[in-house]
C-alpha cells in the first residue's frame, strides 16, 4: 500500500518539474493538468471523496480549458 502511494507522489513531482522545464507552453499546461489529476487520486486515498470530486472536475477540466483559450489569444512559445 505504501509502495503505491510512493509511486504516485514521485510521478506528481516529476510532472511538476516537467511543467517548469518545457518551453512549449501547451506542454507545460498539460503537465499541470497531470499534477491536478494525481492530486485528486491522493485526495481519495486520504478518505475525502467530496474534495476529490471537486478537484477532478474543477482542476483537471476547467482550469486547463481556460489556459488553452488564453494561449490561443497570445503566443504559444516562450519567447
Amino acid at each position: 500500500m505504501i509502495f503505491i502511494v510512493s509511486i504516485f507522489v514521485i510521478l506528481m513531482l516529476i510532472a511538476a518539474i516537467a511543467a517548469c522545464i518545457f518551453r512549449d507552453l501547451l506542454g507545460a499546461v498539460i503537465a499541470a493538468c497531470v499534477v491536478s489529476l494525481i492530486a485528486a487520486v491522493l485526495f481519495y486515498l486520504l478518505q475525502a471523496p467530496d474534495v476529490a470530486m471537486a478537484e477532478a472536475a474543477i482542476g483537471a477540466a476547467l482550469v486547463t480549458a481556460v489556459f488553452v483559450i488564453a494561449i490561443i489569444r497570445t503566443k504559444r512559445h516562450e519567447e
Binding site: 507522489v9 506528481m12 517548469c20 499541470a32 491536478s36 482542476g59 482550469v63 489556459f67 488564453a70
Partner: protein, 128 residues
C-alpha cells in the same frame, strides 16, 4: 519486497510521504514564480502552489485507519472517522483558486494586446 516492509525506510515513509509530496509541490511552485520570465508560466506556477497547499491541509486532518465521514448505513461506527472540518475549508479554497486564475489570465490577455509581448523584463522597461 519483504526486505522493504519491515525496515526503517518503510516506517519513515508511511509517516511522512504525504508531507514530502505537498512540500515538494510548494517549493517547485515558488521556484517557477521567482525564476521564470513569461507571464503565463508564472500563472502556471501559481496553480501548482495552490494544489500543494490544499494537499497539505487535507493530510493534516487524516486519522490512521479511518473512513470517510458519511453515515451511509444507520449505525456505523463513528469512533474512527476522519476529521470533516479541513475538507470543508479545502472545498472553498479550490473554488476561489479557479476564480483568481481566470481573472489573472484575462488581465494577461489585455497586457498582450497593449504591449505586444509577454516578457516581464521588457514590460518593466517600457513603463514610460
Amino acid at each position: 519486497m519483504d526486505l522493504l516492509s519491515n525496515s526503517n525506510v518503510a516506517n519513515f515513509l508511511s509517516n511522512y510521504i504525504y508531507y514530502i509530496g505537498a512540500f515538494g509541490l510548494v517549493s517547485i511552485g515558488l521556484c517557477i514564480i521567482l525564476i521564470k520570465r513569461n507571464l503565463i508560466k508564472v500563472i502556471i506556477g501559481l496553480s501548482i502552489l495552490d494544489t500543494g497547499v490544499n494537499l497539505f491541509l487535507i493530510s493534516v486532518g487524516y486519522i490512521s485507519k479511518g473512513t470517510a465521514p458519511i453515515f451511509s448505513k444507520p449505525g456505523l461506527d463513528s469512533a474512527r472517522m476522519v476529521d470533516p472540518v479541513p475538507q470543508a475549508l479545502v472545498l472553498t479554497a479550490i473554488v476561489i483558486g479557479v476564480a483568481v486564475l481566470a481573472l489573472a489570465l484575462s488581465l494577461a490577455i489585455r497586457l498582450y494586446h497593449h504591449y505586444g509581448t509577454l516578457n516581464l523584463r521588457k514590460i518593466k522597461e517600457q513603463r514610460w
